[in-house]
Each structure stands twice: as structure tokens, then as C-alpha cells.
């Protein structure tokens, strides 16, 4: 019972922070990340509220710090497939998917990417553009090594090509690479598996997928990002022109008993940020935010909302639109305002806009299910990890020795996630120190 | 006023309140004074005050940092602001300096006197005018004709920082404040960039890098001047116009928030480079952008060691 190694599952900002703190506290950390790079959702954000800090500017140094820490062992492109045991003594099996690239040889130079003939939809940019079959998840990816996406690689599909191999002077391409199982023994586990955007096409009335100029909040984020598919030019899908009027619809799939009854916690501020960014980018652009409650309860949030109203002409309308239709490609929002001044008439109104952004609900990512099932960790009815005693033990799951931080245990923003991540590290330190003593 | 001054100094020395007093004494030539150090009561008779006291005596306080005693000195408005700056810059402790303020009526520009009244023997302050004596003749002259330019536009002829003050302010002093203070700056700015460049290149061309401007400056209290540094060498050894430009621009940069327009640099420049026209620019920018005037209050933070988030809205 003196295992001072810790497994962290999920390489988003929460997992990264937990890993750095644990490593600094003296623990050996194994950070398992499903995709080829750590960074998680925060890497996809353009800026962050309420400071409008550039997301990657503040995240990248943390990613590098985490990866270069002597006590952090990064297991990217990997998944936990088995786990058993109890606090102080967990045994874990991790599947390392083949990258078909020798991590020791690859220098991340990108010559292979230049030469790869196969273009496939780019998941990092929410399929708004294409990447190659051999790729770096995003320019600042850590580790800075390439990955061959075997499902799309011509060699794997048709048995020939191998152009990447030809051009790689470092001889890093290895088509023979196979899956590997890594077995670990750890004293504690931290879950930090984050969220997925809810699939808004379920809400037929909002026309996502039908009406071109209806997009999701995360798509908007990539569009406005300087490193996104349009280099930060906000192009509406129909004609690639910048919009002049944008509507943000809140609680799409959230606070809705038909889908997710809970509040996703970040969308009000997220939409406000996007409206501000759009306003900064295109002076004169107008934004309307259709909200249920304007939840701006964090430090500097109200001030941020005020700024949006005063400096960027963002208008907040308390309404839950009933439907979105389209006329000549322009979306029309049908809504009834639920707050009104004395004497105003109550009626259904229409608003024609250039672009609609659906601020979708955020749902648990679900990649923790394997682990939670095997260890009998309780989830709540939404699939978030249940925290039995939130008041005294806000990062402890129902199983001793397993902790959860960030969005996987309930909707929250970045500061709360890094707080919980550090908090989880403190709990691990407490557990494994007490165990030792 | 001189009598009053001598009495104060005598008393200070008598009480042992100061180790010495820095003031002005008659110069060897007419219309000149010289800085003097009074250490004994019997010397106080040497102290004078006239419109010929250009020296910024605060310059003599640099050495005080290392001692422990108290020093007294007589200051004009501009010099008093120098004292405030020296306190801010931790070069002196205010409580170790006994400041005797004079309501300066403005200093006379010797060159102007020379030009208008060759051989003038005396210039006396007669309230609204100067009385110039040339041989037997007396001329009453409007003050503006003889005042140093910087005095004519002086905003703060008497300082807010003093322990004793001599005499009273005259009405003339009070409404001397002028919108024209920065006129010469604006004039320069209105020129096309090539002309400004040509003007300053020509000025810098003349500089012989004698460092008189630096050596006379109250604000040049660095332990070792940056221009003496060999690692790195900020100046090349030549005195081409461009090397001199480096010198003057860096020096002007170091004047940000410090220059109190005593005008000593320009007065002592043997090549007659219009240095005030350089430093005044700095002064105006700081005032306009950051609402800062050097030497006003000890609590004011110098403009380059503080910031406001609102600064981002500023443009030149």
C-alpha cells in the first residue's frame, strides 16, 4: 500500500493541471489521453472569458510544462481498457493505439503532412476544413509528433502510397507498428474526461443541419479563432460573407427536460464572449442573445456582460425561441419575449439574422465509462460522475482512491476545473501520504 | 528680501539646524552671481538674490545621499520641483533639506540684455518692469523683453515645497501662465518630417559631446552615467550627427518625468543647441498623456513606473 504513482485520465486542462500538481508534489503521474495530443477542449477555444485571454497562449505553456515534467509520463492516443483493485493499489491496463510513427524519431517537422495526398475532414476544427491522413492534431500539439489516421490512410485502405515514408528523412514512419498494452500499478486515479457538445440536430425546430447559417457555439469558436479554418474570418456558411447580425440561442438542449435538465454553466458567458469577439472583429456588427436566465455569477462576469452591452451593442432578450425558419438562406427566429415593460403587448415576434449560433448543451464525454463501470463508480442520471459528499469532499467519487475533477463531475468553467484539478491532487496527496504513514 | 534670507540662514546656522547653506553670491562680473556655500554665521552677508541667479542649486544635493546632516538652500520654483523629484528618486530625504523658497520674478537672459543694452551695468526689478542702467542712463524695459524664455512661460514660479518663503507673489507672476508654453513645440511639430529631421540633424551635428548639459543637470544623479558604460557601449566613439542623436535622444528619454525645465542644460551648452526644445516635448507629452507634471508632489508616481488600464485608449 505505498504506491506513489497516480493515473490521470483525460488530457484536457483539468487533467493537465492535476498532473502538473501531482508531479510537483512528488508523485509519478501517468496521463492518459485518447487523442494524439493533450490540450482538450481548451485548445479549441479562441479566447476565454472574462479576460479575453487568448486560450492557446495560456494553455500551451501548461501543456509543455506537463509534457516535459520528469515525473509525468504521457500516454497519448491511448485508452484505459481495464482497471481493478482499490485505493492504494489499482492495476490498470492501457491500450496504446499505433500512430504508425516512431515517437523517438519523429521531429514533428511536417514534411510528411505536406506530401500526404489524402485529405480528410478535420475533427479538431469540427469538420469545417480538412486535414491530411498523417497529421498533427493542431499546430501547438503536445507531443509534437505526427499520427497516421489508419482509417483514412491510402496505404491502409488500398495498400499503396507510403509517400510519407519516402519523404521522412528521420525514418520515423513505421507501418508495422502495432497496438501495445501497458500495464500500470497506481495508488490513485483521477478522472478528468471532460465534455462533448450535445448533438443539436436532435432539436429539429432549430434547423441545425437544414439551415446553412445555423451553427453551434463550438463551431463559431473555431471560425473566429485566428488559427481556425478561416484564419479568424467569421464566414457564414452560405456565402462566406461576414454576418452583420448574429443571434445566439442559449440553453439549446440544456435546462430542457426532454434532453438535459441541467444548466451547462458556461454558455451564457461563452455566448457573451463570442458576441464580444464578433463585435471586436467587425465593428458595427450586432448580436442578440436569447437567454433563459443570464447566469453570470463568477468573478468579473457581470462586468463582462456590462461591457458586452455598452461597448459591443450586445442585446440580451429573455426568450426561448420556438423555432427557426429560413427565407432566402437567412434564418428567422420566432420568439416571445418573457420580460416586458408596462403596456407592452405580448406576442410572438420574428427576427431575421445573418447567422444563428446555437449554444448547445455540454454533456459528459463518456470516455470514463469503462473505468467507472469496472470500479463501480456511481454516475448521476446524466452520466456525470456522482460526488456523494460535495460539501466536504468535492472531488471524491463514490469509490475510495478515485477522484474526479472538471466537467466530468458536473458543468463548470475553466477556473473551477483547474481548482478541482489541484484539489484532486491535494486529496491524492492526503490519501497516499496517510497510507504511507 | 536678501535681508530676510540672511536672517533665516543666520538663525538656522545658529541653531545648528543645518550644516551649511547653499545660496547665491555676487559674481566677479556685473550681472552675474555664483553659487556659494555658507557654513558660518558671519558669512551670511555674502548671500544675494537677484534676477541673475540661474543656477539650479538642487544640483548640489547629490552628494547628500552619503552623509547624515542637514543642508539648507534657496530655491526658485523650478529648483524646488527638482527637490521634489530628488526625494521621489530617493536621492535625498526631505527632512534633511531646509528649503527656502523665493517667489521668483523670472530670470534675466544675459544675452538679451547684451543685445539690447550693450554695456549694461545693472538690471533691477521694478515690479512690472526692469530698470536697466547703462552708464548714466536708466531704461525702463518691459519684463518680457529681457526674461529668459522659460521664465516667461513659467507655470510654477514658487513651489509648493518649502520650509520658509521670502516675500510675496506679485500679480505679474500669477497671470504669467500662458497657453504659449508649448508653442515652440507645436511649431516644430507642424513642420514636415524631413524638415524636422534636417533641423535636428543640424543641431546634433554641432554637438561636441562635452557633456556639459548632463553635468549641470540636477536629474543626472546616476552612479555612473549610461554613456560611460562599456558593456554595452551605447555610443560609438565618433561624434557624427547620428551618434550624437543617440546621445541626445537617450538623454531626453531619461528626462521623462524628471525635467523641471530649469533650463540649465541649454544655458551651459557651448554650441547653443536648443535643448529645451527637446525636453519640453517630453514634458508636454507626459502632461497631456498621463496628466503628470514633474516635481509637483512627492506622492506622485513618475509616469513610467505606473500605468492605467485606460492608457490603451491614448493615442498621439
Amino acid at each position: 500500500m505505498n504506491n506513489s504513482a497516480v493515473l490521470v485520465i483525460g488530457g484536457g486542462i483539468a487533467g493537465i493541471q492535476a498532473s502538473i500538481d501531482l508531479a510537483n508534489l512528488g508523485f509519478q503521474v501517468y496521463l492518459v489521453e485518447r487523442t494524439p495530443s493533450i490540450g482538450g477542449r481548451m485548445a479549441q477555444l479562441d479566447k476565454t472569458f472574462p479576460t479575453n485571454d487568448c486560450s492557446i497562449c495560456i494553455l500551451a505553456p501548461k501543456m509543455i510544462e506537463c509534457a516535459s515534467h520528469k515525473k509525468v509520463n504521457l500516454l497519448t492516443y491511448s485508452e484505459v481498457i481495464e482497471v481493478e483493485g482499490r485505493a492504494g493499489d489499482f492495476r490498470v491496463k492501457i491500450l496504446k493505439k499505433p500512430r504508425f510513427v516512431d515517437m523517438n524519431r519523429c521531429t514533428g517537422c511536417g514534411e510528411c503532412v505536406e506530401n500526404c495526398p489524402r485529405r480528410v475532414p478535420n475533427e479538431f476544427n469540427l469538420f469545417l476544413d480538412k486535414r491530411k491522413a498523417i497529421y498533427l492534431l493542431f499546430p501547438q500539439a503536445v507531443p509534437h509528433k505526427m499520427t497516421i489516421d489508419a482509417q483514412n490512410c491510402l496505404y491502409f485502405l488500398k495498400g499503396r502510397c507510403r509517400l510519407c515514408e519516402e519523404v521522412c528523412l528521420a525514418k520515423a514512419i513505421d507501418f508495422e507498428q502495432e497496438e501495445k498494452i501497458v500495464e500500470l500499478s497506481v495508488g490513485a486515479i483521477i478522472l478528468a474526461t471532460g465534455f462533448d457538445p450535445f448533438d443539436v440536430s436532435a432539436l429539429k425546430e432549430y434547423g441545425y443541419g437544414e439551415i446553412k447559417n445555423v451553427i453551434t457555439g463550438l463551431e463559431f469558436e473555431r471560425l473566429i479563432s485566428a488559427s481556425g479554418p478561416t484564419s479568424g474570418e467569421l464566414e457564414r456558411p452560405s456565402d462566406k460573407k461576414p454576418p452583420q447580425v448574429i443571434a445566439f440561442i442559449q440553453c439549446v438542449g440544456s435546462r430542457d427536460v426532454n434532453y438535459n435538465p441541467y444548466c451547462s454553466a458556461v454558455c451564457c458567458m461563452h455566448a457573451t464572449k463570442e458576441a464580444i469577439l464578433a463585435g471586436e472583429h467587425y465593428p458595427g456588427l450586432r448580436s442578440f442573445v436569447f437567454y433563459t436566465d443570464l447566469r453570470a455569477a463568477g468573478k468579473r462576469f457581470q462586468e463582462y456582460i456590462n461591457r458586452a452591452k455598452e461597448e459591443y451593442g450586445v442585446t440580451y432578450i429573455r426568450a426561448r425561441p420556438g423555432k427557426i425558419t429560413a427565407k432566402d438562406g437567412r434564418p428567422i427566429i420566432w420568439y416571445e419575449e418573457t420580460l416586458f415593460k408596462e403596456g407592452e403587448e405580448r406576442k410572438v415576434r420574428k427576427m431575421e439574422v445573418d447567422l444563428v449560433v446555437l449554444c448547445q448543451a455540454l454533456v459528459p464525454h463518456g470516455s470514463h465509462q469503462e473505468v467507472t463501470r469496472k470500479l463501480g463508480i456511481e454516475l448521476d442520471e446524466m452520466g456525470f460522475i456522482r460526488i456523494p459528499d460535495r460539501l466536504s469532499r468535492p472531488v471524491d467519487t463514490s469509490v475510495e482512491g478515485v477522484f474526479a475533477c472538471g466537467f466530468c463531475q458536473g458543468p463548470q468553467d475553466i477556473p473551477d476545473s483547474v481548482i478541482q484539478a489541484s484539489g484532486a491532487a491535494a486529496r491524492v496527496a492526503e490519501l497516499l501520504t496517510v497510507e504511507r504513514m | 528680501m536678501e535681508q530676510e534670507l540672511r536672517e533665516i540662514v543666520r538663525k538656522l546656522l545658529q541653531e545648528g539646524a543645518i550644516e551649511h547653506f547653499i545660496g547665491y553670491a555676487e559674481g566677479v562680473e556685473p550681472l552675474h552671481t555664483t553659487p556659494c556655500f555658507i557654513e558660518r554665521e558671519e558669512e551670511v552677508g555674502a548671500l544675494v538674490w537677484s534676477p541673475f541667479c540661474p543656477y539650479n542649486l538642487a544640483r548640489y544635493l547629490h552628494q547628500m545621499k552619503n552623509g547624515a546632516g542637514k543642508v539648507g538652500l534657496v530655491v526658485k520654483g523650478c529648483d524646488a520641483r527638482a527637490i521634489v523629484e530628488l526625494v521621489k528618486g530617493n536621492q535625498i530625504q526631505r527632512e534633511r533639506v531646509v528649503v527656502v523658497g523665493v517667489p521668483c520674478q523670472g530670470q534675466v537672459d544675459l544675452a538679451k540684455v547684451e543685445e539690447a543694452f550693450q554695456g549694461a551695468e545693472a538690471v533691477e526689478d521694478a515690479g512690472d518692469t526692469f530698470l536697466v542702467t547703462v552708464g548714466e542712463e536708466g531704461h525702463s524695459v518691459e519684463k518680457e523683453r529681457l526674461l529668459r524664455e522659460k521664465c516667461f512661460f513659467c507655470k510654477h514660479p514658487i513651489s509648493f515645497e518649502y520650509d520658509f518663503v521670502l516675500g510675496e507673489m506679485s500679480p505679474f507672476l500669477l497671470d504669467r501662465r500662458s497657453e504659449l508654453e508649448f508653442a515652440m513645440i507645436e511649431e516644430m511639430e507642424s513642420l514636415p518630417v524631413e524638415e524636422r529631421r534636417a533641423f535636428w540633424r543640424a543641431q546634433f551635428e554641432r554637438c561636441s559631446r562635452c557633456y556639459a548639459c548632463r553635468d549641470i543637470c540636477y536629474a543626472c544623479y546616476c552612479q555612473e552615467c549610461i554613456f560611460e558604460s562599456r558593456a554595452p557601449r551605447w555610443l560609438e566613439k565618433t561624434t557624427t550627427s547620428l551618434d550624437n542623436q543617440t546621445y541626445h535622444l537617450i538623454r531626453a528619454w531619461h528626462m521623462v518625468g524628471r525635467c523641471i525645465d530649469c533650463g540649465e542644460c541649454e544655458r551651459v551648452c557651448p554650441m547653443e543647441i536648443p535643448l529645451r526644445q527637446l525636453y519640453k516635448k517630453v514634458e508636454r507629452e507626459v502632461e497631456q498623456l498621463f496628466d503628470y507634471e514633474a516635481g509637483m508632489r512627492v506622492e506622485d508616481l513618475p509616469p513610467l513606473v505606473t500605468f492605467q488600464v485606460d492608457d490603451l485608449g491614448l493615442v498621439i
Binding site: N24, L25, T51, I58, L59, C109, G110, E111, H144, L169, A170, Y262, C263, D293, L294, R295, A297, G298, K299, R300, F301, E303, L339, F340, E342, G343, R346, F384, R390, L391, P394, V395, G410, I414, P415, D416, V418, I419, S422, G423, A424, A426, R427, A429, E430, M437 | K65, N66, G89, N90, Q223, E224, C225, I226, S229, P232, P302, L304, V305, T306
Partner: protein, 564 residues
């Protein structure tokens, strides 16, 4: 000038650099630069082969400075520095030149220009490297005891966690008892558990822990020192205590809305905290209660939202309804702040229990009816669009937590900042929420911003983790890019310390009299702002000295002067 033995390694990076920049020509050029005794091209400088070659050449040619021209220092500097160190060369005698991201990759169609630019960049790098100095990374010891200021739920949680990690803790509480705001509260959402259930085990744990020393009725009087080595004076305690880290957990206090809605002159107008007191005593027969939210919050002068007040109001409303299901309980509010899963569920639950929510417009706030005694509340019901009059046997004002009155005093003692609202200001709102910019001092709970119990506890754990790190490591190590003051040149003007964001500089007496600046390298983060603020170059930065940067400028100037 002293001779140097500089080695230059130019990376081809496969074709990434070599395909555009004519590397052999660049190597030839580098070899002819002053003080360069060796230069070579390398297929991949960062590969095993590349690194071995660098190490071998350091030994073979007695290189005393190494310049690698390849990609970006942001990702590869550590790698090359390590290689130098392995070859016995101080790791700070390495200089990086970026000829990939900043050259070959951005001039792919201009090989001639790219080649010339690579030469020029290398010339600058070599010029800088001449002036590089070996550096030792400063290590300073961390005394393994912590000070926790504030004995509320956050402070107690942090103290207990640290102690459980085997670290000694000094816990200071200004009141005579531990507990802070928590001890005044009745029940806690979302399960409406009794405060005792949380409070008692925590307080017992803290009181009984052998590693925790509690100072009740005490306050901090003075703090000196820096991370690892703070000396703290405490009221009623002789001498000083020495600690390595400090956690600020001083909490907040409930705003008393004097002068609003008749408070405190109208007898049946209370605040939520006062209501909690009444509820503790037990309630009987309350028929109608009106709660008004956002009193003193989200208003001009106090923009912020109290974060958990909506939930407090719901909790007390539910408790009243539980006491008397027939009671009419109204909450007048603007937005329902109930983020996440549990809060939203709690909100639904309160509606199911019959609590009525009415949205008011802050432009026409509710009005209390009655003079000495509130009898009702008149409010414009924004959802139905008309004014309504609600019966009110009691009116409860929901007010936010506000900063402690003595935050300013403490902030000055600790040399950490306050934000505009008066709460303590963290190092970074997003990624460093519970740290101060000053190392060794951390922050949790409502001292930072109103936080409910769960949040305070989370933050307390986080602050504890941060504080434990240096204490468990036993020392702090600083990259040698810190500033230092050359006493010989310093005239003590103090510009440097005024611009330092980390309070790392102070003025000390000098031997020759007067004051001189002194940098505590343990606190310096190496931004170099102080260096630029120093008029005569007395302040310098390791690895980015004036001389090094001027050497780069001079190298570039030389090129211009020798140009066409």
C-alpha cells in the same frame, strides 16, 4: 576582448530548413564569424545522432559557447541545454537561433533571401552568445510549515489537508472560535444538511491534529520574507513564527443593506443570515415571506453577483415551506443563478415545493408597504406585465458577501493585490485562480470571491496542493533568467521596484551610503521590466542582458552598414 570558442550547429531539419536555406553555405559563413572555431550542418540536430555530435564537438574543440540554428526555443531549448550540460558545458552557454519557423518556413519561395536571412540570424545569435555567462540556478530552502489565515471552512479544510500530508500548520482565527461564516448558517444546500454535520467533524479534525497549532482571537501583525522563508508576527504571540508558505482564507462578510428597504429600522425586514439565525431557533406559523434578491449586488458601485445568494434564498424558502406548507413564499429576483446539475435541480425542487419566483426589473425595484412594520411588498411582475402586491409577514433581503474590512491592511502586509471590488486578486483569473502572482502565497474561499461551501472546500484543497508543493520539494529552484542589480552602478532611485509585479525588489543600505536595489531571485520571474526601467543599466537580466541584446543589434547594424 577575450577570445571565445564558439561552435555553431545548423540544422537541415530534413528538408524543412535544408530544402530552402542553403545550409552548407550558411555553415561556411558561420565558420568565418569572429570567435567561431567550429561549425557544422546537422540533418536533425534534435535527434540522438545530432545531440551526440554536439556533445562530441564540445569535447573535441573545447567549445565554450554553443549556438544551434534550427527550430524554436519554446519547444527545444531544454533539449539542447541538457545536451550541453551532459557535455560539461554550463547550460546557459547555449544560444538558440530559429531558422525554421522564422525563416525557411516563411520564405519557402525565396531560397536566396532565406539563406541570407539565416546567416544574419546566426550572426546575431553568435554575437549574443559571446556575452553569455555561465549561470547557476538559484535554489532556496523551503521551511516545511504553513500559515493559514482564517479559521472558516476554507481555512480549516486547507489546514487539515496540509497536516494530513504530514506538514505542520499554524492556523490563525481572529474570532474566539473556529468556524467563520459557516458557524452562523443553519442548513446547507443542496441536501439541506445541518451545518453541524459538516462543521463538527472538520473542527474536531483540526483541533485534534497534532500538526496543527491554532491561534484563536489572533491576527497577523506583520509579514516579512518570501517563499520558503516568511517571518510572521501574530498578535498575542511572542516573537515570530517561521513558515514556508501562506494561505489566505479570510472569507467575506454579509452585506448589511443599511438604508435599503427599511433595513434595519423596520423590524420585520431581515437579511438572509439573520433569517438563518431565526430558522435555527425554530419557526412557527409564518404565513407569508417575501425575499428580495440582488440587494446591493449587480448594482452600480457593486457590479458583481453574489454567486450563491439565489440558492441561499431558495434554501430558506424551502425550509419555511417545509415548516408550513401553506405559507406563501415569494422570491423576487432578476436571474436565477443556478448553474450546473444540482443547483438547477434544487431550483426545480423549490418550485415544486411551491416557492414562487417573480422577476423584477432593477429599474423599478420592489417597494415595501407599511411604515414601522412591513405589511406587504409591491412589485412590477415582469413576466405577467403588471404590478402585484404580495403579503409579507416578513421581508428577507438577499445580499452578497462583501470583502472583509481589513483586506487592505492584510494585502499590504503580504504585498499581494486586491481587485477593484476589494476581494483579493489572484495571479490569473483563468488558470491561476488560487495563487497570487507572488510565490508562496495562496488564496481560497470568499476572500477571493463569494464562494459557497463546496466551492470554498474545493479551493481550499487546491490552495493546499499549491502550498504543499514547495514544502514537499523542500526547495524552490529558479531558471537563471532573473534580474540582478549591480550595486556599483545603482543609485537607488527605486524605479525597478515600482514596476516589479512580483515584489521581488527592495532597497537596501549600501556600503557607500544611500540605498541600492536588491533583487530576491527567489521571487523574480524574469520578465525584465525592471531592467528597462533602470536609467543607467545597473539592473540587468541574466541571459537577456543589455550587452547581449545590444550585441545582436550591433551585429545587425554591421550588416546594414556593409550593405549596398
Amino acid at each position: 576582448m577575450a577570445k571565445r570558442r564558439i561552435g555553431v550547429f545548423v540544422c537541415y531539419c530534413g528538408n524543412n530548413i535544408g530544402g530552402i536555406v542553403r545550409v552548407p553555405e550558411v555553415v561556411e559563413y558561420a565558420r568565418c564569424l569572429p570567435n567561431v572555431v567550429y561549425a557544422e550542418g546537422s540533418l536533425y540536430a534534435c535527434s540522438e545522432e545530432g545531440l551526440s555530435s554536439i556533445k562530441a564537438k564540445i569535447a573535441a574543440y573545447g567549445l565554450d559557447r554553443v549556438v544551434v540554428a534550427s527550430c524554436t526555443p519554446r519547444t527545444h531549448e531544454t533539449l539542447f541545454r541538457n545536451a550541453c550540460e551532459e557535455a560539461g558545458l554550463n547550460r546557459y552557454l547555449f544560444e538558440f537561433v530559429n531558422v525554421r519557423e522564422h525563416c525557411s518556413w516563411i520564405h519557402m519561395r525565396a531560397p536566396d533571401e532565406a539563406t541570407e536571412k539565416a546567416k544574419s540570424l546566426i550572426k546575431m545569435g553568435v554575437a549574443k552568445s559571446y556575452y553569455l555567462e555561465p549561470q547557476e540556478e538559484l535554489e532556496s530552502e523551503v521551511y516545511p510549515e504553513a500559515l493559514v489565515i482564517g479559521g472558516g471552512v476554507a481555512g480549516m479544510t486547507a489546514a487539515l489537508n496540509l497536516a494530513q500530508q504530514g506538514l505542520k500548520v499554524h492556523l490563525i482565527e481572529r474570532e474566539k472560535e473556529l468556524g467563520g461564516l459557516l458557524s452562523q448558517v443553519n442548513k446547507l444546500f443542496p441536501a439541506n444538511r445541518d451545518v453541524k454535520e459538516i462543521f463538527d467533524p472538520l473542527a474536531e479534525g483540526v483541533k485534534n491534529h497534532p500538526l496543527i497549532t491554532i491561534y484563536l482571537g489572533s491576527e497577523v501583525e506583520g509579514v516579512e520574507g518570501f517563499i520558503g522563508n516568511f517571518k510572521v508576527r501574530i498578535t498575542r504571540v511572542e516573537g515570530e513564527i517561521k513558515v514556508g508558505t501562506i494561505i489566505v482564507a479570510t472569507g467575506g462578510r454579509e452585506l448589511k443593506p443599511i438604508g435599503q428597504y427599511g433595513y434595519p429600522t423596520v423590524a420585520n425586514v431581515l437579511t438572509q443570515l439573520e433569517l438563518e439565525g431565526r430558522l435555527k431557533e425554530g419557526i412557527d406559523g409564518w404565513q407569508s415571506v417575501v425575499m428580495i434578491n440582488c440587494v446591493g449586488a449587480r448594482v452600480t458601485g457593486r457590479f458583481y453577483c453574489g454567486r450563491f445568494c439565489c440558492l441561499t434564498a431558495m434554501k430558506n424558502a424551502i425550509l419555511i415551506k417545509e415548516g408550513n406548507p401553506q405559507a406563501k413564499v415569494y422570491i423576487l429576483l432578476q436571474d436565477v443563478m443556478a448553474s450546473g446539475v444540482e443547483a438547477e435541480r434544487y431550483y426545480r425542487r423549490s418550485m415544486e415545493r411551491g416557492v414562487r419566483f417573480i422577476r423584477y426589473d432593477p429599474i423599478s425595484p420592489p417597494q415595501i408597504l407599511g411604515e414601522r412594520q412591513a405589511e406587504g411588498v409591491k412589485v412590477y411582475h415582469a413576466l405577467i406585465g403588471r404590478e402585484v402586491i404580495l403579503p409579507a409577514q416578513m421581508v428577507v433581503l438577499t445580499t452578497p458577501l462583501v470583502p472583509q474590512a481589513d483586506n487592505e491592511r492584510l494585502s499590504k502586509m503580504l504585498k499581494v493585490p486586491l481587485g477593484s471590488e476589494g476581494f483579493f486578486l489572484e495571479a490569473h483569473l483563468k488558470l491561476r485562480p488560487i495563487e497570487f502572482a507572488t510565490d508562496g502565497i495562496y488564496l481560497c474561499g470568499s476572500a477571493r470571491y463569494p464562494s459557497d461551501i463546496a466551492e470554498s472546500v474545493s479551493q481550499a484543497y487546491a490552495a493546499s496542493a499549491k502550498a504543499a508543493i514547495p514544502m514537499r520539494q523542500g526547495l524552490v529552484r529558479v531558471e537563471a533568467i532573473t534580474a540582478f542589480s549591480q550595486e556599483r552602478l545603482c543609485h537607488g532611485c527605486g524605479n525597478c521596484l515600482r514596476v516589479c509585479p512580483f515584489g521581488a525588489i527592495e532597497l537596501k543600505g549600501s556600503e557607500r551610503g544611500g540605498k541600492v536595489a536588491w533583487v530576491n531571485a527567489a521571487q523574480c520571474k524574469g520578465c525584465g521590466c525592471c531592467v528597462a526601467a533602470c536609467p543607467n543599466g545597473a539592473m540587468q537580466q541574466r541571459s537577456f542582458s543589455d550587452q547581449q541584446l545590444m550585441a545582436m543589434i550591433e551585429a545587425l547594424v554591421e550588416e546594414v552598414s556593409s550593405g549596398p
